[in-house]
């Protein structure tokens, strides 16, 4: 089939206005939230219903054409990018909230529903969808499922996987499978859990049932400032060891604080602090949350906080959070380009790893700002740079690699919530041996034997081949 006839066939399914072929239109979809990867898709198609998704996928299966599912494109790993030999399947038109069942605290949504919209829709019932990535005003729940997205409040409430009950999935061949059940108990092995976080490699979720939780009746938000990054890291360990689980425990370093305070998102963070911690406690009982907040304040002060301020009202709380959630945007002030890194270390390793990251940045002459989910040990070192400066991208790449190696050496991993995508492929062999990578690839083949869905992501094929060639053959994994 020629490109022209493919486009005509796609237009026959979704309507001509929902198929994008002109280069400027396709260029729009050539990046996600990470500026270091650009891939221009061959064709962009925007189905408007589950049946259209099925028809498009069946057409592409018949033609053997690879495709990449994409939500709002806010990902930070290059995971939703397609090459010019692939079709980009954009799911933002599947944006209906199909059901909110307040009695059972369940919602059913299409994949293109923007994260925050679900909580807004559930609010009249006193419920919310708890996973809250910083991009929640733009990112879609389908994308959250693909990446197993986290967010500040995942410390207490868990990541996306902890909230997904059931999925309707369109596989690579266009067949439809139902995973999980409305109550969350799987029909057999936990394929829902396996699917969440598979970065689109296993198919397209067209219907997603999620758990809703009551909006907390009591909330306390504390802002603590520290004279040293290490002290703040040590305070995090002390809070965790107390047995009180905050809803969120976030850290920002001085560079990040100053970027926020210089921006329209200025939150009143102390500019001279080496680091600030934003700690939120919530629950159903006002008196319990207040008492726990007092305990945490004492712990923070005992562990070196210069000051601890409690948000006086909802407005101040919102302002404190706006600064945190828009910190990545505020960093746009520091330089033209920004690489948002993502790694996780054991919480007790935070002080040492933060110092190591600082040393790596200095050795490469780079500006690094840290804003991250400290309670989970989920680091986000952000490198600000000007990509037009010759050689600078290579330095950023090399520094990123050293930071990943430092996190792995500390017992950590290369991504906690952004996914592997394209960006972290090269690091996968640093944490998984050849057999484990080959096993992942073999699992992928159960869902997508030809590796046509989001090709070239998550599992580095060369690592499977070079490091485990004979075993790959035994696994039934064939060289492409």
């Amino acid at each position: 089939m020629t490109t022209t006839s493919l486009v005509e066939a796609l237009a026959g399914i979704v309507g001509a206005r929902h198929v994008r072929t002109a280069l400027p239109e396709r260029w729009t979809y050539s990046r996600d939230g990470l500026p270091t990867h650009r891939h221009v898709p061959g064709v962009v198609v925007l189905p408007g219903s589950r049946d259209e998704v099925v028809a498009v996928v069946r057409l592409l299966a018949a033609l053997g054409i690879p495709f990449v599912p994409r939500g709002a494109g806010t990902g930070l790993s290059g995971g939703a990018l397609a090459d010019d030999d692939a079709v980009l399947l954009v799911l933002t038109r599947l944006n209906r909230i199909l059901k909110i069942d307040p009695q059972n605290r369940v919602a059913v949504v299409e994949p293109g529903v923007v994260n925050v919209r679900l909580s807004t829709a559930a609010a009249p019932y006193g419920l919310q969808y708890t996973p809250d990535p910083s991009s929640q005003t733009a990112c879609t729940i389908g994308g959250n499922v693909a990446e197993n997205a986290g967010g500040p409040h995942c410390l207490k409430y868990g990541v996306t996987a902890n909230h997904v009950l059931a999925l309707e999935v369109v596989l690579a061949d266009g067949s439809v499978v139902e995973l999980g059940s409305p109550g969350g108990e799987p029909w057999g092995p936990d394929l829902t859990g396996l699917f969440v976080g598979s970065e689109g490699n296993f198919g397209i979720a067209t219907r997603i049932a999620v758990r809703l939780l009551p909006v907390p009746r009591a909330v306390r938000t504390l802002l603590a400032d520290f004279p040293a990054l290490r002290t703040a890291g040590e305070a995090v360990s002390a809070v965790i060891a107390s047995g009180i689980v905050p809803a969120a425990l976030e850290m920002m370093d001085q560079s990040c604080v100053q970027a926020v305070e210089d921006s329209v998102y200025a939150a009143g963070y102390p500019r001279d602090a080496a680091a600030v911690l934003l700690v939120e406690l919530d629950g159903s009982r006002e008196e319990a949350v207040a008492a726990d907040a007092d305990t945490i304040e004492g712990i923070l002060r005992a562990n070196g906080a210069r000051g601890v301020v409690a948000a006086a009202d909802a407005k101040q709380r919102e302002r404190l959070w706006l600064g945190r959630k828009k910190a990545f945007g505020a960093m746009g002030r520091l330089s033209r380009d920004l690489v948002v890194q993502d790694a996780v270390v054991p919480r007790s390793a935070l002080p040492d790893v933060l110092e190591t990251i600082g040393r790596i940045a200095s050795s490469y002459g780079l500006t690094v700002s840290n804003v991250f989910h400290a309670g989970d040990g989920n680091l986000h070192p952000n490198i600000s740079f000007d990509g037009r400066v010759p050689g600078l991208r290579a330095r950023v790449d090399a520094a990123s690699g050293e930071m990943m190696a430092a996190c792995i050496a500390a017992g950590g991993t290369i991504t906690g919530e952004h996914g592997v995508g394209l960006d972290k492929l090269r690091y996968m062999p640093m944490i998984f041996d050849g057999d484990s990578l080959a096993a992942m690839r073999a699992v992928r083949h159960v869902f997508d034997p030809d590796e046509r869905v989001n090709p070239g992501k998550v599992v580095p094929v060369h690592a499977c081949r070079e490091w485990s060639g004979v075993r790959n053959a035994e696994w039934g994994v064939l060289a492409p």
């Binding site: 902890n162 029909w187 859990g193 008492a291 726990d292 989970d376």
Partner: protein, 403 residues
Amino acid sequence: MSLLDRVRALLGDDAVDVAATRDGVPRVAPASPDAVALLLGTARAEGWRVRIEGAASWLAADAPADLALTTRRLDKIPAIEPQDLSATAEAGIGCDLLRQQLADRGTWLALDPPGLAGRTLGSVVATATAGPLRQGFGSIRDHLLGVTFVTGDGRLVQSGGRVMKNVAGYDLTKLEAGSFGAFGVIVLVHLRLRAVPRADRTLALEGSREDLAQVTDDITAAGIQPAAHELLSPALARRERWTLAVRFAGSEALVSAEEAGLGAATGGRFTALRVDEARALWTHAAECFAARPVTFRIGGLPESSDELLDLLQHQVGDEWISASPGIGAIRWGGETTADRLRRLRRTLAGLEVPLTLERAPWPVRAAVGHFGAYREGVGPLVTGLRRTFDPGEAFVVAVEGTE
């Protein structure tokens, strides 16, 4: 060379339990993950059929096989990290020993699986058998940071890690949890821990099932967030009538406030149990299931809990039941037949409620299967995954029944 001689040559004399098993199947106890891999690689080459055992106190050690692979010697705890609230333990460690060692370091694994105290960690993970604490702390998978397992052809595969968040690669940990060993022998488990709660209190209320269902609604409506909220049948609770047991765990402030909230929402009808009474209640409720020949779990919507209990009462009786009405999960224990289980599974499937057979004598397991009544398209995926992880069909696991 006989099978046992081959095993002795591979793993040494002490890996073979000469006393063997009740059904005469030789029992092999590898002492390391590498030894498990060596054994299963050989099993694949020789065509041996292998059944997996832990302490054999939960799932009956009765599946027909050429050899029984027990994880009993994989009983080390390589790491407990109180500051990180994580631990790494081998799969054959008994839950009681693990719990004790964790407590000594001020940490707590918020799991209370059914069965005897010495059940192995691997058994709990492989069967995903969560207890009443699933209400407040989630199912088994929510406590796992990663696992290492050995496939049916002897490959060591690692998944996840030992940090709190991890999306590097596909989540094979979730696939392993609750797969009953169909995809591999779990040898090492990385666990998410909590600090030992400063306060841990249980309150109980006896009444008719209808009365307690109303109380449950009141608790939910009041926004009370218990660690456990369990409806226990009279036999299970060793009381005259059904018992609603509510457990709070956390800081003293939290537990006191929740207790007060419970009192306000239910008119002060609950009675606080002493520490020894609470321990006896929960322990007995857990251990009772190990004494029943058949145990299964079903998972519906919270609103349907009462209807599901009626259905169970009608089809298989309701003598041994532990239900978490706040989340729609029910565990049933007792005696029943394969035909009744099949019929019940079909009826429940019509209500979109899965039934997972947790334990039963082999003839019943083989006939009914741990799983069944798959939704559209699930069967071929499960078959494909089994072929991937156990290409020689070495593992004797009744994943699906014969119907």
